[in-house]
């Protein structure tokens, strides 16, 4: 009996190991893909950014980033635009997610398809579509003038306004999706309890619903902000050369100046900043959870 039991113990351990290996095997293709398409290029980028024009190790690209005021301006503009887009997305997306979360699930799912529809078209196509809508003789301007809403064509594109419109359009689903999920998870009994204890609808919302939706809101806002930092196509097409974000500068450094080192340094700095923001936010959210601020 004793030896049988010992024999099985070894076999059971082997089974457990085999299961772990099988699980790891399932993750392997994705791991390989990420290594080839992400880890190696980023490492190469890192390496390039530390090579001077003469091919020797040097910090000259980073020194230039600090010394030239134009780089600081570009970084500031990038962060400002990302923050504005995130703010507009919150203003538009929060009420939308709220309405969806209060609808019956079946209807909400249908509406969700509408929210996700933009994903079916490439960013490039959507951005060109906005160009058609927003330009001086575009649909919106001609309609507005014909209806007498304004007399002169509004400058809706080839500037910051157009860039913001295009970016908000693309980013909105990234905010609505996690927010909707976290709102759905809020048990309606919490709101009933709030009402029963004397809170009218407005106070029940601000004291109970809003705090419980914060994890979803912060997750969505974070995704939008981080994705905005790397935007290229939309500011390039709708900004009309007046809106330059970091990605646009990287492109011009390579295409016009063939300066791979400078472009790499920009990329590395952007990557590090984005990672720092993510880490800081993750810590904030975790703290928030520590104080009980999560939906069940």
């Amino acid at each position: 009996m004793r030896s049988d039991a010992a024999l099985n113990a070894a076999g059971l351990r082997r089974d457990a190991r085999a299961e772990r290996i099988a699980l790891f095997g399932l993750g392997l293709p994705a791991l390989a893909l990420v290594t080839v398409t992400m880890v190696i290029p980023v490492a190469w980028l890192f390496w390039l950014s530390f090579l001077g024009d003469d091919g020797a190790l040097s910090l000259e690209h980073y020194r230039r980033l600090i010394e030239q005021a134009s780089y600081a301006r570009i970084f500031r503009a990038t962060f400002e635009i990302s923050a504005i887009v995130t703010a507009i997305c919150i203003l538009l997306g929060y009420p939308l997610a709220y309405v969806l979360s209060q609808l019956p699930r079946r209807i909400a799912n249908l509406c969700m398809i509408g929210v996700l529809m933009p994903f079916w078209t490439s960013i490039l196509v959507r951005t060109y579509a906005w160009l058609v809508l927003l330009q001086r003789q575009g649909l919106i301007n001609s309609l507005g003038i014909r209806l007498g809403l304004w007399d002169e064509p509004l400058a809706l594109v080839h500037n910051l306004t157009g860039t913001l419109i295009g970016m908000v359009h693309i980013m909105l689903p990234f905010l609505v999706l996690p927010l909707y999920g976290s709102m759905r998870a809020i048990d309606r009994d919490y709101l009933k309890a709030a009402a029963n204890l004397g809170a009218g609808p407005t106070r029940a919302f601000w004291l109970v619903f809003f705090p419980l939706s914060l994890p979803g809101l912060s997750a969505g806002a974070l995704i939008v902000f981080i994705l905005c930092l790397g935007f290229y196509v939309t500011p390039a097409l709708l900004g009309g050369g007046t809106v330059i974000m970091v990605a646009n500068r990287i492109a011009s450094d390579i295409e016009i100046f063939f300066n791979w080192g400078a472009a790499s340094a920009l990329g590395v700095v952007l990557l590090v900043l984005a990672a720092a923001i993510l880490l800081a936010a993750a810590r904030l959210i975790r703290l928030d959870r520590l104080f009980g601020g999560h939906a069940p």
Binding site: D187, D189, K192, N196, L197, G198, A204, G292, G293, H294
Partner: protein
């Protein structure tokens, strides 16, 4: 307390339909000030709908609802000023225990110092003194239950609603909390409406029990009356265990399978009736004792079909001559257990005339 601690509740002709289903079918109910009334029924009976109408979360199609003299049927939930304990407690997860209990006081703009004092008092009342700074997810089920209760009573509502508040607790804790809730009710004196599907809980805790079925109140009585004189077969089956025998009532004599059955109940119409027997009101007789039992009690003769040992009690199923199976329950004592007969043995079940309950056949 300066003002009355409780209010009576008057429900008149409250109806609520969901499509073709009548969740509430013209319900009339008078709940006395300060009483502990339980709405008892199977799931889907309408008991929770009625509670939600009282709380204001379900809007009925018609009817009148008064707290004291005030009509409240159209009053928004947050203006009703009644306490409620939810089935899943609904404690706000983003607030500490203390903040949860302070919530109704904050909304009522109670002074800060008073809030702190009253939160502490409420916590002491539910025996959780010192828990104010705990997080809700650190608490056990029983503790959450107590916090939910403290939150529901801290603003001294005159009516307290409870929606199956003990259903998530294990049996031992549930029985402990039943006594606890009853003690709190006696201490605070607020009118309490309690919803449960657990008949034992209803009998244990309530001053009166309203049995609800198909959106209607079938019987409203004190627990003992409800158990001893159920109005119909449904209630008899829902509350406690019971066996039914078809009997004939003619010329004032009740007959089962031709033999007269002595009963104390009077005033029943002639014709076919049902005789309800509770297992614990039956005694089992064997051998020579059968003849002695017939002098005072009614006897049902049959043979043992099955015996079940259940710890504190035992159950014997006896098959009568016409095939009906009647169960009897006895308290497990060493002597009684030793005397349990083998399946197939002939026995008789004896019951006193006052323990025989007659009821109409069709109701239910």
């Amino acid at each position: 307390m300066a003002r009355d601690a409780s209010l009576p509740i008057t429900v008149r002709q409250v109806a609520k339909r969901y499509g073709a289903v009548r969740a509430l079918d013209d319900v009339d109910l008078d709940i006395r000030s300060g009483e502990f009334l339980t709405l008892l029924g199977p799931s889907g009976s309408g008991k929770t709908t009625l509670l939600m109408v009282l709380a204001g979360f379900t809007r009925p199609d018609q009817g009148s609802l008064k707290f004291g003299e005030t009509e409240v049927i159209r009053l928004a939930p947050h203006k009703r000023g009644i306490g409620m304990v939810f089935q899943n407690y609904a404690l706000f997860p983003h607030m500490s225990v203390g903040a949860n209990i302070a919530f109704p006081l904050r909304l009522r703009r109670v002074a800060k110092a008073d809030i702190a004092r009253r939160v502490d008092e409420a916590l002491a009342l539910v025996q959780l003194a010192g828990y104010a700074s705990r997080r809700v997810d650190e608490l056990s089920g029983g503790q959450r239950q107590r916090v939910a209760l403290a939150r529901a009573i801290v603003f001294e509502p005159r009516i307290l609603l409870m929606d199956e508040p003990l259903s998530a607790l294990d049996k031992q804790l549930r029985e402990h909390m039943q006594i606890e809730l009853r003690r709190l009710h006696e201490q605070l004196g607020m009118t309490t409406v309690y919803v449960t599907h657990d008949q034992r809980e209803a009998l244990t805790m309530s001053d009166r029990v309203a049995v609800i079925h198909h959106g209607r109140i079938m019987q409203l009585d004190a627990p003992r009356r409800l158990y001893e004189r159920p109005a119909n077969r449904f209630i008899a089956q829902f509350i406690g265990e019971s066996t039914f025998l078809p009997v004939e009532l003619a010329d004032g004599i009740v007959r089962y399978a031709g033999e007269a059955v002595r009963v104390t109940q009077t005033g029943l119409p002639a014709g076919r009736q049902l005789l309800m027997l509770r297992p614990e009101r039956l005694r089992m007789l064997q051998g020579a004792a059968i003849g002695d039992g017939a002098a005072r009690d009614n006897l049902l003769r049959g043979s043992v079909q099955r015996t079940v040992y259940q710890g504190d009690s035992y159950l014997i199923e006896v098959r009568l001559a016409d095939g009906t199976v009647v169960s009897m329950r006895g308290v497990s004592t060493e002597r009684a257990l030793a005397a349990i007969p083998q399946p197939g043995e002939p026995v008789a079940l004896a019951f006193a005339p006052e323990d025989a309950v007659l009821m109409g056949e069709d109701a239910g």
